[in-house]
């Protein structure tokens, strides 16, 4: 933790082992992690990486085998009974499959945590009304979950999670069961809540898109360990671990891009295919026009893509540079001087 920043969540030397029929399984291995108040923190990993266990350690649904978990000044790794139940009301959770009670209407589902907290009926009703408006479900109060779309169900989940004014919101693959458009709408709602209520959000996912869109910082998990962590933009710009590179390429190297590049290679065997990576303000530099004017080369744009992260923009551009061999070489060395990361994809012949 840096000076002056309050750590809302602190994990110290966390190890979690499970006993299975095939012996012991270590789901989380000696993890240290600190998450600041008001931050949106993402944990990314493939299934089985231990991220599901990690998020459940944060509200005491799982207890660590060793180490301490402190969330909102409560030591979740050791508290029990009423103290744990009270603490959980300030650390709420939303789920991949929403986990709504189908026997209750939207309003009754949202009222459930308030009933648990012992809020009197009149206050409960007023609070439910507020929450329904907050998540944009006006008019659907009396509907049952079976009558809602996936996105609406998750909105109910979010309203329910916010009912007791929590300090921390845990998102367990909250958008993984939703289509891309609904995913974006739910992510926008989470950012809105984070900014308006100052809520600390921890989310786990296997989609880099989710991390890119809303997280300030990210931790990459593999086999129970955090293999890489940092500001999202920084991780995008210079991924270190092999698995991180794979996740980053989920966004930059889509299948479509790969196909386009392959086709261009076949159609235009001349020239150089170069991938330019722009980060932050450099996205605004007129690199391409400069290239054409100064070096007498032809530049054709093959593919371009800009992704907005919470800490700035991140863009990739694939161009084909064609011309006299010397000119192309000069152009390439120029590119190396302008603080734009370049990567030669294919050489001419």
């Amino acid at each position: 933790m840096r000076k002056g920043e309050f750590a809302m969540i602190n994990l110290q030397n966390i190890t979690k082992k499970y006993k299975t029929s095939n012996g012991e399984l270590t789901a989380v291995k000696d993890v240290n992690l600190s998450i600041k108040k008001g931050e949106i923190f993402g944990i990314i990993g493939y299934s089985g990486a231990g991220k599901s266990t990690m998020i459940r350690l944060l509200n005491g649904l799982e207890k660590p085998t060793s180490g301490t978990v402190t969330v909102n000044n409560q030591e979740f790794s050791s508290i029990k009974g009423q103290k744990l139940r009270d603490a959980r009301q300030k650390v709420s959770m939303i789920f991949q499959h929403f986990n709504l009670l189908w026997s209750r209407t939207v309003a009754e589902n949202i009222a459930f945590p308030l009933e648990i907290a012992g809020v009197p009926k009149a206050k409960r009703e007023a609070r439910v009304k507020e929450l329904i408006t907050l998540v944009g479900l006006d008019g659907r109060e009396k509907a049952y979950p079976s009558q809602l779309s996936g996105g609406q169900k998750q909105r109910v989940g979010i309203a329910r999670a916010l009912a007791n004014n929590p300090e921390v919101l845990l998102c367990d693959e909250a958008t993984s069961a939703l289509d891309p458009e609904t995913t974006d709408a739910i992510l926008d709602l989470l950012v809105d809540i984070n900014e308006r209520l100052g809520l600390t959000i921890v989310l786990i996912t296997h989609e880099m898109h989710v991390i890119r869109k809303i997280c300030h910082r990210v931790a990459v998990m593999e086999a129970g360990e955090i293999v890489e962590r940092g500001e999202v933009l920084q991780v995008f710009q210079a991924p270190q671990a092999a698995i991180t590179k794979k996740f980053v390429s989920q966004i930059t190297d889509t299948k479509e891009t790969q196909e386009t590049v392959a086709q261009i290679k076949a159609n235009y065997p001349n020239g150089q295919l170069v991938k330019l990576i722009f980060v932050g303000e450099k996205t605004e530099q007129p690199v391409i026009s400069h290239l054409v004017k100064q070096f007498d080369v032809e530049v054709s744009i093959v593919h371009g893509n800009i992704s907005q992260t919470k800490n700035g923009a991140y863009g990739t551009l694939i161009v084909q540079i064609d011309g006299l061999v010397d000119n192309v070489a000069a152009a390439l060395s120029y590119l190396n001087t302008v603080e734009v990361q370049t990567e030669v994809i294919a050489n001419a012949n």
Partner: protein, 222 residues
């Protein structure tokens, strides 16, 4: 016309017997529901990975349920004669049939409760825990409401089985339509009495099934 088709039927006796059958079925169904629900919830919560996971409790409860479920009902009645006599002072009449009916049906219903509870999405229980719910809240506000349609259809099956049990209990002197069919119908060789008793039992069963299906559909909001 009814008198000509069923010349030997004493209608007053027939209505009395119907009333006794309904009485035995209703009381035993209500108590079976409560007892079976309690045992079923205990079985569920004590099973592995559940809130009260406890191998010993689970094994003992499971064993008792299995033993009583396996004893044929007619044998159970005979085995319970001393118990009934101790409890009620008599082994004759509709009330005397109740202990055997309940002890025979509750373990059967407890199994159905267990099946119903297992159908509940584990995530919903986890969500309630994540909100800080205590176990009693989870039982009353999650487990029972979320499994209600299955609990009701299971209860319907149990109630229909109980109608059958009352007829068997009738043969050893508990009264009701079974008793009437056996004593007045079979033993006196008056097949019209047996037929009428059968028709009335069928009507009782159909009405129970209809009510059960109606409640099940009403409670199911999925």
């Amino acid at each position: 016309m009814l008198t000509s088709l069923f010349p030997n039927v004493d209608w007053e006796k027939m209505w009395d017997a119907t009333y006794e059958t309904l009485y035995m079925t209703t009381i035993s169904t209500v108590i079976t529901f409560i007892l079976g629900l309690v045992i079923g919830i205990l079985l569920f919560l004590s099973s592995p990975n559940q809130l009260w996971a406890n191998k010993i409790v689970n094994f003992l409860t499971g064993s008792i349920v299995n033993i009583f479920r396996s004893i044929p009902f007619i044998v159970l009645i005979i085995l319970l004669i001393p118990f009934t006599k101790f409890l009620l002072g008599t082994i004759r009449g509709a009330d005397a049939a109740l202990p055997a009916l309940i002890i025979g049906a509750a373990p059967f219903y407890a199994r159905m409760v267990l099946i119903a509870l297992r159908e509940i999405d584990k995530g919903v229980i986890e969500a309630a825990r994540s909100m800080g719910a205590r176990t009693s809240t989870i039982i009353w506000k999650v487990l029972i409401p979320e499994s209600l349609p299955a609990l009701m259809s299971g209860l319907t099956v149990t109630a229909v089985a109980l109608v059958g049990y009352t007829a068997m209990a009738g043969i050893i002197g508990a009264g009701g339509l079974g008793n009437l069919a056996f004593l007045d119908g079979f033993q006196r060789n008056r097949s019209d009495v047996t037929l009428m008793a059968t028709i009335l039992i069928l009507i009782v069963v159909f009405v129970i099934q209809w009510i059960g299906d109606f409640i099940t559909a009403k409670t199911d909001k999925r």
